[in-house]
């Protein structure tokens, strides 16, 4: 018995996709010219699928801070945060994030994935319940799987479905409700106010993952909780540095008075190497820059609305009625057309993310575009034009799709 036999159906499925000249699993950025342009297979390509919402990957202050940290502290810490891996930069970054949110505590993780994994698996114990949205990110599901709590799912963004399940829970148990504020595949926003108010009505502790909303939602860019004025209803806010912050890492902020005990019990925090000082320095600089990036936020939203309306006017079916986020998800009728569309669009010089079932909610076949604040208006219009040209080349009647 070959241990790899169980992967045969997946290998067969991947092999059946009719890519000819490009394959989403083999895209290599040969040269990155800016936040929005790279050379892929020798061609200059507009990057429209990078999650680099606020375009911080080339922020001058972040780059300068990273270079200085490299010179002063070297390339890595070679240790866990609880051993030799805590430098002054790590403590400074945690203070910067806590101050950004106006909260008492912050813990930085080595990735956003580990932040969810660590928080969920540690907070909810064997007698507790975790209540999650059915469309939750893999890091939330994996955090649930790693812990010992009982896991309850409710229908995506459905307050009534959540409340029905909260009513059925036994009395006197620990309850952790976990929701995302913006969902990464369709870019749809959660009815956070109603969800959090309902959770609180039933005495739940709440954790909100702001991975895809931090940076551009809210006046200061703290996320959808800030925008909706419901930060006081979120006991824990989790986020990532790999989207709007433009580097890698994750964090959790909270006002819970016993929060710091997590540093002694949270395995994905304790048993992994801490972030390199250069990453820590660039994240710190980027978050400070994000706070004062009101104009960039405004331009990002302009870009998102312009792309959404342009594609809609061309007849494409979009996953959300309006631009509720910088994620504009274009729905295509079947996986085969999606595969051909993605490849042709890349050859036409636009890189987006292809997302197919079972990785997508409700079985959507998606061209997932993530807009960047650094896209020019001309680039946004060019993306729209190339979408239309690609559909024409494929003979796809998008209005009928």
């Amino acid at each position: 018995m070959d241990l790899f036999d169980k992967f045969d159906p997946l290998i067969a499925q991947k092999s059946s996709l009719p890519f000819e000249k490009a394959d989403p699993f083999k895209v290599v950025m040969e040269k990155v010219l800016s936040e929005t342009v790279a050379i892929i297979d020798g061609r200059e390509t507009i990057l429209a699928g990078t999650n680099n919402y606020m375009g911080m990957t080339f922020n001058e202050e972040a780059i300068a801070a990273a270079k200085e940290a490299l010179d002063n502290y070297g390339t890595g810490t070679t240790g866990s945060r609880v051993l030799n891996g805590t430098y002054s930069g790590h403590k400074g970054l945690e203070k910067t994030i806590a101050d950004f949110y106006g909260m008492d505590h912050c813990m930085v993780f080595s990735t956003g994935y580990q932040a969810n994994l660590g928080m969920i698996s540690t907070l909810a114990g064997v007698d507790d319940y975790v209540i999650i949205d059915a469309d939750s990110h893999a890091s939330i599901y994996d955090g649930c799987a790693m812990g010992n709590a009982t896991i309850v799912r409710f229908k995506h963004n459905d307050i009534e479905s959540m409340e029905k399940r909260l009513k059925r829970l036994p009395e006197g148990v620990g309850k952790l409700v976990v929701v995302e504020s913006l969902y990464s595949m369709l870019g749809d926003a959660a009815p956070l106010k109603e969800l959090l108010e309902t959770a609180k009505k039933y005495g739940c502790t709440t954790l909100v993952d702001e991975a895809h909303s931090m940076g551009f939602c809210g006046e200061k860019g703290r996320g959808l909780c800030e925008e909706l004025g419901v930060e006081h209803l979120a006991d824990f806010i989790v986020g990532t540095f790999s989207k709007s912050v433009g580097t890698v890492g994750g964090y959790c902020v909270s006002n819970h008075p016993k929060f710091d005990v997590l540093r002694l019990v949270c395995r994905p925090y304790m048993f992994t190497a801490s972030l390199p000082p250069s990453v820590v320095a660039s994240a710190t600089a980027a978050i400070k820059a994000l706070e004062r990036s009101g104009n960039r936020r405004a331009h990002l939203w302009e870009n998102a609305r312009r792309l959404h309306s342009g594609l809609k006017a061309a007849g494409f079916t979009l996953a959300t009625e309006t631009a509720t986020s910088p994620i504009i998800a274009v729905c295509l009728p079947d996986p085969l057309i999606a595969t051909k569309f993605w490849e042709k669009l890349l050859l036409n010089g636009v890189y987006v993310n292809m997302a197919l079932p079972p990785a997508t909610p409700a079985g959507y076949n998606l061209m997932r575009v993530s807009v960047c604040a650094q896209h020019t208006t001309e680039q946004i219009d060019e993306i729209t034009r190339r979408f239309i040209a690609t559909a024409e080349e494929l003979g796809l009647n998008v209005k009928a799709a």
Partner: protein, 82 residues
């Protein structure tokens, strides 16, 4: 062995998900016989939860492959709640 009433009710709930139109039996499996993907199973689980006013935890699902196994689990959960 599941309560006959529970089993009948679950047959009713599964019927709209039986796109292949196969004859439903107690040992019909969700993944192989009905060819349900994980997203569809989630919708079915929600229907079962609401019909019996129970919680069918995500942790239990890997062990529930057939209609009868689900009916047994529902009976157990209902009994525990009483």
């Amino acid at each position: 062995m599941a309560n006959a009433q529970t089993l009948d009710r679950i047959f009713e709930l599964v019927t709209p998900f039986n796109k292949k139109g196969i004859e439903l039996q107690a040992d019909t499996t969700f993944a192989t016989d009905l060819d349900l993907d994980s997203l569809t199973v989630m919708d079915l689980v929600a229907e079962i939860e609401d019909a019996f006013d129970i919680i069918l935890p995500l942790n239990l699902l890997p062990e529930l492959e057939t209609i009868e196994q689900v009916a047994d689990a529902v009976d157990r959960i209902v009994a525990d709640n009483d």
